[in-house]
């Protein structure tokens, strides 16, 4: 359209009024831009002051979460995915169906985890032998949890320190070599004919068997590390000595057994977990024991089972002797005797003060008897007990008080029977305790030795 051109022909746009330079946003967009500008300013201010640091800019640090299961990126607040929630949940929550951990007759193959419990006191000298026995176990090492309780050691005994050293080597697979090195060094240094003089008076066959017992070749998994090792240290304040004569005085037996019961309970209750199927109790001072002892005891699949425990003697005393008299079958006389005693009196076997006329597992043994013969027992000794974990879970323990006039392991046997468990023993399957000469024995040996040397001197002259 042609505007007013003052009569001239033109196709240029002509505006009414004066010609003025074009002002930008002449009302059209001004309002819009004003509003947007205000919004933008407010938004940026709000944004700046309230937002967290998740702008897509260069990060000054990275956050990682480190758990026993590994390393992952992100902090705990960042946990959102199902997998992470699951991991977090499982890191503190555990579920166990106790029916899965009842134990079977072939636990080795079925994956049963055994809790190996051993109370220790002033045992530094015998630890090497003990560890050889432990390594010699043929039950799968990755299914055995070792648990030790070290208590009330005297000042000159460093059981705890030695235990630490040996277990570190054990779990590194180097203990066999370490013990061999220690032994060879000890042999070089030792003075012959002093503390092991009594060996000359023992049955030479037996001595040879002991010396050959831990010679290579060992079984395939001898040096394999164990599932875990737990070392507990607790001093109960025991006032009784650990020498043979001190231990075996009848008057202190009751007190001593109750303290030992207490130590055993502390050990098993701190170490027992829901996934254990079996608990194997072992004393430290065993000299000879088969490597498949756990499997042999387990195959009977009963609640509490013990082998027979004997010890060797010098030839002049008869070569061998029943050692553990705590495994027995209750007798009428025993029950009658208990009725005459006070509530806190503890009956101890093998002493004339308490005539119980019980049948002891130790005396039932015959040398060539069937090692699979099983008999029912009432009291058990603590040298080598295999019990189902269920027995301890349901409350059976080693009473540290007088229970039916017994304490510790014999009371444990009685308690287990009371609770309906089956308690048995193998009379012809024997393990051998070490021989510690008593005062009388040492005097006798000294006398014989003097006589022998006197005779030899006489011959020389």
């Amino acid at each position: 359209m042609i505007a007013d051109t003052y009569g001239k022909k033109s196709d240029l746009p002509v505006h009414h009024g004066k010609l003025a330079p074009k002002t930008p946003s002449r009302g059209a967009f001004r309002r819009l831009y004003q509003i947007l500008g205000a919004i933008a300013t407010i938004a940026l201010l709000v944004f700046y002051f309230t937002r967290k640091q998740d702008l897509p800019e260069v990060k000054s640090h990275e956050v990682y979460t480190v758990t026993a299961d590994g390393v992952r990126k992100g902090g705990l607040d960042g946990v959102q995915s199902e997998e992470d929630l699951d991991k977090l949940y499982h890191s503190t929550v555990e579920f166990y169906d106790l029916n899965d951990y009842q134990g079977t007759h072939d636990g080795n193959a079925d994956g049963d985890v055994v809790l190996f419990c051993m109370p220790l006191r002033n045992a530094e000298a015998i630890l090497p032998t003990m560890f050889k026995h432990i390594m010699n176990l043929t039950y799968a090492h990755e299914q055995i949890d070792l648990a030790f309780l070290v208590s009330d050691c005297s000042d000159d005994d460093d059981t705890l320190g030695a235990l630490f050293d040996y277990t570190v080597s054990l779990q590194a697979g180097k203990l066999g070599e370490k013990l061999y090195a220690e032994e060879t060094e000890a042999k070089k240094k030792s003075v012959k004919g002093s503390s092991d003089l009594y060996l000359n008076y023992m049955d030479p066959d037996y001595v040879e068997r002991v010396q050959n017992a831990f010679q290579p070749p060992f079984h395939a998994e001898y040096s394999k590390p164990f599932r875990s090792v737990q070392i507990f240290h607790k001093d109960f304040g025991q006032l009784i000595g650990q020498g043979f004569s001190d231990r075996h005085d009848v008057k202190v037996q009751g007190i001593r057994r109750k303290l030992m019961g207490r130590a055993r309970n502390w050990l098993v209750y701190n170490a027992l977990k829901p996934y254990h199927s079996w608990v194997y109790w072992r004393d430290v001072d065993i000299e000879m024991c088969p490597g498949d002892v756990i499997q042999h005891l387990m195959k009977f699949n009963i609640d509490v089972i013990v082998p027979n425990v004997w010890r060797p003697l010098p030839e002049f005393l008869g070569n061998e002797q029943p050692y553990d008299l705590n495994s027995w079958i209750e007798s009428e006389q025993g029950l009658e005797l208990a009725k005459t005693l006070q509530e806190d009196d503890v009956i101890v076997e093998g002493y004339a003060e308490y005539p119980t006329w019980r049948a002891h597992l130790a005396y039932i043994r015959t040398k060539d008897g069937n090692p699979d013969e099983l008999i029912a027992l009432d009291g058990v000794g603590g040298v080598s007990i295999l019990a189902k974990a269920r027995v301890f879970r349901q409350g059976a323990m080693f009473p540290a008080f007088t229970f039916e006039n017994h304490a510790e392991t014999e009371a444990f046997g009685k308690l287990a029977k009371r609770m309906g468990f089956i308690v048995g023993g193998l009379p012809h399957y024997t393990i051998w305790h070490i021989y510690e000469p008593s005062e009388d024995d040492l005097q006798e040996i000294a006398r014989k030795e003097r006589k022998r040397r006197h005779q030899r001197k006489g011959k020389q002259n």
Binding site: R31, L36, V79, Q80, G111, W266
Partner: protein
């Protein structure tokens, strides 16, 4: 041509590209405001096979949470149970045999003021249909808490392995002849729970029944402050009194008592495998029951020596359990379960106490 009224629209129609700037600005602002944070998938580093599901029967032979060579050393000489428990960072293990899950019970646990990182929980459910229902509800409740920041140090849930009674309804539960069997079963559950969860870090064990729905928030601190080997609170029940037309309370747990001559006489005349249970007219023991010693105006810290305890809310020093105090499932001095436990505690040389004026409340059906 349509003359558009608004100058803005006219400008857009004439020069469409000029509208890009403001629109882009709007889009950028929206993007910055509403972009959700943390939506990226976190890459996780995992060296272990993932366990899935709750009822996972896979035998996990690999130990969790152990140092590299799997050797742990615990100096139990340093473990103590003192009245300043929270200050000394002593761990408390709260154990509850659970046959039915009450939401109020769980809420009550969550309101306890004792530091949560020092509390471990342990539950055992029976092998019944009811137990399975409780297990599902418990798992759900635990998951809510254990996947957030204020977590308990550890939660262990066990499924019992012995036979348990099918019916746990209140009326059936209290028939006298069934008591012995039921309490024996409870004793086995308690022992199974206790001895598998008790560990070298535990200083105190709090037995809290799963149907205790209301306790003071400072329950643990209060009980711990008395510094006793075994101490029991008084268990009452809230109910609506129809006569007075008002909420009232009445005693519920009668297992907290002091031995009486009459009780000893009855015990002497019983067979070896018979037990005495409180609260039944057939066996009148005339024992002073702590339930009747409640004084609304009395000092809540009043202590009384007891011979028998119930399991409603009992705090035990862990060392007492470690010495061998357990819940006998067989007649032990003609007592069973929690009362037998009190007797065993005394045989071990410890004393048992109760707080008659300190109330915890049982569920009312």
């Amino acid at each position: 041509m349509v003359q558009l009224k608004s100058p803005l629209l006219r400008q857009i129609r004439r020069k469409p590209l000029t509208a890009i700037a403001p629109i882009t600005l709007l889009v950028v602002l929206v993007f910055l405001f509403f972009r959700s944070s943390g939506s990226q998938k976190l890459r996780t580093y995992s060296y272990k096979s993932k366990k899935s599901g709750f009822f996972n029967h896979h035998r996990d032979v690999i130990p969790r949470n152990l140092p590299g060579d799997h050797i742990s050393h615990y100096d139990l000489n340093k473990l103590a149970s003192t009245p300043m428990a929270a200050y000394n960072k002593e761990r408390v293990l709260i154990l509850s045999p659970m046959s039915k899950f009450y939401n109020e019970y769980w809420q009550n646990i969550l309101t306890l003021t004792y530091p949560r990182e020092l509390i471990e929980l342990g539950f055992i459910v029976p092998r019944t249909a009811e137990g399975d229902v409780a297990l599902k509800k418990l798992e759900k409740a635990v998951k809510q808490v254990q996947t957030k920041d204020a977590r308990f140090a550890k939660v262990t849930i066990l499924r019992q392995d012995s036979e348990s009674l099918a019916s746990q309804k209140e009326k059936d539960r209290h028939a006298l002849k069934v008591q012995k069997e039921r309490r024996a079963n409870m004793a086995l559950a308690r022992n199974s729970l206790l001895f598998t969860t008790l560990g070298p870090f535990t200083s105190w064990v709090l037995w809290l029944d799963s149907d205790i729905i209301e306790t003071p928030h400072s329950l643990i601190e209060d009980l711990v402050s008395h510094d006793k080997p075994v101490i029991s609170a008084n268990c009452y029940q809230r109910y609506y009194d129809d006569e007075k037309k008002a909420l009232s309370i009445r005693p519920y747990d009668f297992n907290n008592w002091v031995e009486s001559d009459e009780g000893l006489k009855i015990a002497a005349g019983l067979e070896d495998d018979e037990i005495i249970v409180e609260g039944y007219a057939e066996l009148a023991t005339y024992r002073p029951l702590m339930a009747h010693f409640y004084d609304a105006k009395g000092d809540i810290n009043t202590e009384m020596a007891l011979d028998g305890v119930g399991g409603a809310a009992v705090l035990v020093k862990a060392d007492v359990h470690r010495d061998g105090a357990m819940f006998p499932s067989f007649p032990f001095y003609h007592l069973i379960e929690t009362e037998g436990f009190a007797k065993m505690v005394k045989r071990l040389g410890y004393e048992v106490f109760g707080l008659p004026n300190y109330l915890v409340f049982h569920f009312n059906e």
